[in-house]
C-alpha cells in the first residue's frame, strides 16, 4: 500500500496506466468466465469448467509483476492465470470448445491450457501436480542464468499433496527462483478447508526455510505490491518464496455446481460478492482517488465485452480437429 501511494506521487501516469491495465485484465477474465458459464448453460461447451470469478486479483496482481518470459504453472481453475499471463481470448475459447484453433489444438481442454509463447507451462488437472514442473523450470532458469522466475499457482487444497513439500525442500536447498502462490479460497471442491488443513500455512513454508507471507487476495494493489517485492527478491537469488492470497470463488466448484448451500451459505457468498469483489474494489478506489471516472471504466467494459464476444464467436465457428489428428503429438 505505502509503496503504491509513494509511486503514485513519483510516476502517476505510468501507475495509472498500470491500474487500468490490471482493471481491464481482471474484467477480461470476469467476462471470459461469464461467457464460459453461459456456454455451459446453453450446452455449447463439452465437459465442465472451473471458473475463476472472484479470484481475478490474484492472477492479475501476480502476473503483472512478472516478465513475459517468466514461467507460470496453473491449475484446474486456470483460465485466469492463462489470461493474466497474456493468453488470447479466441484461442482460449477455442480450446475450451475442443477446436483445432485452441491453444492445444483442442487436445487439452479447459484444464490443460498451455502456451510456450506466454511462458505458460500448463494448467494441471492433478491437484498440486504442477509443483514439480514449476520448481524444475526454476532450476533451468538458475542453471541457464536466464533471470527468469517461475510462479506455481495452486489452491489451498493442494496443501494436502506431499509433492509440494518435497519440492519446497529442494527449492529452498538450492535457492531456486520459484514462487509458490497459494490461492486460499477456503474450499476444495465441496469441503471447507477448516476440515482439511491443520496448522498454519505460512509455518509450513517456514519449516522449509521458505519466507512466506499472506495478502488480501481481493485487493489487486496489495497482491501486486507483495508480488512485486517477492519477484524482485526471488529474481535476485534469494531463493523461493511462498505467498498466500486469501480469496473466494464466487461461483461453484465447477459450472455444474449450482446448489451449494450444503457446504457454504448464501450469506457468505453474498458478502464476498458485494463487499469483496476485486474488480469493484479497484474501480471504487480509482474513482475515490480521482484517478479515473466511471465513464472510462464503463468504456473499458464495453471494449472488453465486445472482444470477448468476438472471441467466442470465432471459437464457436471454428472447426474441430480432423480425425487424423487424434494420434499426432503423442511423441515429439
Amino acid at each position: 500500500m505505502a509503496i503504491a501511494v509513494d509511486r503514485l506521487q513519483t510516476a502517476p501516469e505510468a501507475e495509472i496506466d498500470q491500474w487500468l491495465r490490471m482493471y481491464r485484465r481482471m474484467l477480461m477474465i470476469r467476462l471470459f468466465e461469464e461467457q464460459v458459464n453461459d456456454l455451459y448453460t446453453r450446452a455449447l461447451m463439452p465437459g465442465l469448467a472451473h471458473l475463476y470469478i472472484g479470484e481475478e486479483a490474484v492472477a492479475v496482481g501476480v502476473c503483472e509483476a512478472l516478465r513475459s518470459d517468466d514461467y507460470i504453472t496453473s491449475t484446474h481453475r486456470g483460465h485466469g492465470h492463462c489470461l493474466a499471463k497474456g493468453a488470447r481470448l479466441d484461442r482460449m475459447f477455442a480450446e475450451l470448445l475442443g477446436k483445432e484453433a485452441g491453444y492445444c489444438k483442442g487436445k487439452g481442454g479447459s484444464m490443460h491450457i498451455a502456451d510456450p509463447d506466454t511462458g505458460n507451462l500448463g494448467a494441471n488437472a492433478i491437484v498440486g501436480g504442477s509443483a514439480g514442473i514449476a520448481t524444475g523450470a526454476a532450476l533451468t532458469a538458475k542453471r541457464m542464468k536466464t533471470g527468469r522466475v517461475a510462479v506455481c499457482f495452486f489452491g489451498d487444497g493442494a496443501m494436502g499433496q506431499g509433492l509440494l513439500y518435497e519440492v519446497m525442500n529442494m527449492a529452498s536447498l538450492w535457492k531456486l527462483p520459484v514462487i509458490y502462490v497459494c490461492e486460499n479460497n477456503l474450499y476444495g471442491e465441496y469441503t471447507s478447508n477448516v476440515e482439511t488443513l491443520a496448522g498454519d500455512m505460512l509455518t509450513r513454508a517456514a519449516g522449509f526455510a521458505i519466507r512466506g507471507e499472506s495478502v488480501d487476495g481481493q485487493d489487486v494493489r496489495k497482491v501486486h505490491a507483495a508480488a512485486t517485492q517477492i519477484v524482485e527478491r526471488v529474481r535476485a537469488g534469494a531463493g523461493p518464496a511462498f505467498l498466500v492470497c486469501n480469496t473466494y470463488r464466487f461461483m461453484g466448484h465447477h459450472v455444474g455446481d449450482v446448489n451449494r448451500e450444503y457446504y457454504r451459505s448464501k450469506q457468505e457468498e453474498q458478502l464476498w460478492k458485494t463487499e469483496r469483489d476485486p474488480i469493484k474494489l479497484l474501480g471504487d478506489w480509482l474513482g475515490a482517488q480521482n484517478l479515473t471516472d466511471r465513464a472510462r471504466l464503463e468504456q473499458l467494459r464495453i471494449e472488453v465485452k465486445s472482444e470477448v464476444e468476438q472471441a467466442v464467436q470465432f471459437a464457436l465457428a471454428a472447426p474441430y480437429p480432423g480425425p487424423d489428428k487424434v494420434d499426432q503429438d503423442v511423441y515429439a
Binding site: P46, G47, K107, A125, V127, G160, Y190, L197, K325, V330
Partner: protein, 327 residues
C-alpha cells in the same frame, strides 16, 4: 417371490456399502468430498447422515496419505474402503497399494492381513481431459497380492462390492463413471457374487466377445447388431480380472473358435493382452484366427469430443472385428 427392483449402478454401489456398514461396524469409507457432498459423482449421498463423519470420513486431498492410513487401519482391525475419485489418481497411491497393501500379508509370512477396498473410477468420453479419463486397471492386475474387480451392471456392482468388503485382501474396485446411471435389476434381498467367476451376459455360438466394465454394454450392443446380420455372439464378462476365470473364457473360445476381447484400458500392454494370451493358451487348437484385441487408442485421451470418441472402442469396431473374424 423375491423382489427385484431396477436401480442404477451408482445406487447399487451405495446399497452395498450401506448394507456392509450396517452389518459390520469395522467398515468405514474415506476419501475426498464423500460426506456432505456424497462424492463428486453423488454416489454416496446420505451415507454420512446414517453413519456419521467418523465412518464417512472426508479427507484432505492426500490420496497417498489416506490410502496408506487405510492400510494401517486394515491391518489393525478396521475394514476401510478408500475412495479414489478418478482412477487417474491411482498414480498417487501406487506405493501404498503395491509396495505396502499388496505385500504386507506375504512379507509378514501371512501374519498381518490388509482387508481393504480401493474404489476408483475409470472410463473416457466424459470430456474430462487426459488426466481424468484413463482406465488404468491393468497396472493393478499385474501386482500379486491385489484382486481387481470391474463390475458392468448394477447387479454385479452390488454383489461384487459386498464380496470385496468381506474379502481379507486388498481389493481394487473400478467403477465406470459413465455407467453410474445405468439401470438394471437388483434383488432386494441380500446376495454376494464370488470373485473369479465370469458371467455369460449373452449366449451365442459364432463368436465370443470378452468385455469388461464399460465395454460390456458396447459388446451387448454389438451383439445385437450382429444378430441382425445373422451372427450369434456370446458376450462374457470376467467381472474380476484377478482372479481371472480362464476356464469359462477358454470354454467359450473352444465353442465359438473366434474371440474378441474389448477393454477400455489402453490396448498395448493392457488387460486385453493377458486375456487374449490366456485364451490362446487354452484354446489354441480350436481357434480359427488369432484373438482380436480391442482397447483404447494408444494416445493420451484428448479433450476434443470427436477426437475423444475416436479413442474409445465402440460397437462398430466390435462388429467390424467380428465380421472380419468370420469373414
Amino acid at each position: 417371490m423375491p423382489e427385484t427392483r431396477e436401480i442404477t449402478l451408482g445406487e447399487a454401489v451405495r446399497e452395498a456399502l450401506v448394507e456392509e456398514m450396517r452389518r459390520d461396524s469395522r467398515v468405514f469409507i474415506c476419501g475426498e468430498d464423500i460426506a456432505e457432498a456424497g462424492t463428486v459423482f453423488k454416489v454416496l449421498g446420505g451415507l454420512v447422515d446414517e453413519f456419521g463423519p467418523e465412518r464417512v470420513l472426508d479427507t484432505p486431498i492426500s490420496e497417498a496419505g489416506f490410502t496408506g492410513m487405510a492400510v494401517g487401519a486394515a491391518m489393525t482391525g478396521m475394514r476401510p474402503v478408500v475412495d479414489i475419485m478418478f482412477g487417474d489418481f491411482s498414480t498417487l497411491v501406487m506405493d501404498q497399494m503395491v509396495n505396502q497393501a499388496a505385500k504386507v500379508h506375504y512379507m509378514s509370512g501371512g501374519r498381518w492381513k490388509v482387508p481393504m477396498v480401493m474404489r476408483a473410477t475409470l472410463g473416457a468420453t466424459r470430456r474430462s481431459g487426459a488426466q481424468h479419463s484413463q482406465s488404468l486397471h491393468a497396472w493393478f492386475c499385474h501386482v500379486p497380492g491385489l484382486k481387481v474387480v470391474l463390475p458392468a451392471t448394477p447387479y454385479d456392482a452390488k454383489g461384487l462390492m459386498k464380496t470385496a468388503i468381506r474379502d481379507d485382501n486388498p481389493v481394487v474396485f473400478f467403477e465406470d463413471k459413465m455407467m453410474y446411471r445405468l439401470k438394471g435389476p437388483v434383488p432386494a434381498e441380500e446376495y454376494t457374487i464370488p470373485f473369479g467367476v465370469a458371467d455369460v451376459k449373452r449366449e451365442g455360438t459364432d463368436v465370443t466377445i470378452v468385455a469388461t466394465s464399460s465395454m460390456v454394454q458396447v459388446a451387448l450392443g454389438a451383439a445385437k447388431l450382429l444378430e441382425a446380420d445373422g451372427i450369434s455372439a456370446e458376450v462374457i464378462d470376467p467381472r474380476t480380472l484377478w482372479p481371472l476365470d480362464e476356464k469359462t473364457l477358454v470354454e467359450s473360445a473352444k465353442k465359438t473358435s473366434r474371440v474378441i476381447v474389448v477393454d477400455e484400458g489402453y490396448g498395448r500392454y493392457g488387460a486385453t493382452a493377458e486375456i487374449a494370451s490366456a485364451i490362446t493358451e487354452g484354446a489354441f487348437f480350436d481357434l480359427e484366427a488369432p484373438v482380436k484385441r480391442i482397447g483404447a487408442m494408444h494416445v493420451p485421451i484428448p479433450f476434443s469430443p470427436p477426437l475423444e470418441d475416436a479413442t474409445v472402442p465402440n460397437e462398430q469396431a466390435v462388429v467390424a472385428a467380428a465380421k472380419a473374424l468370420l469373414g
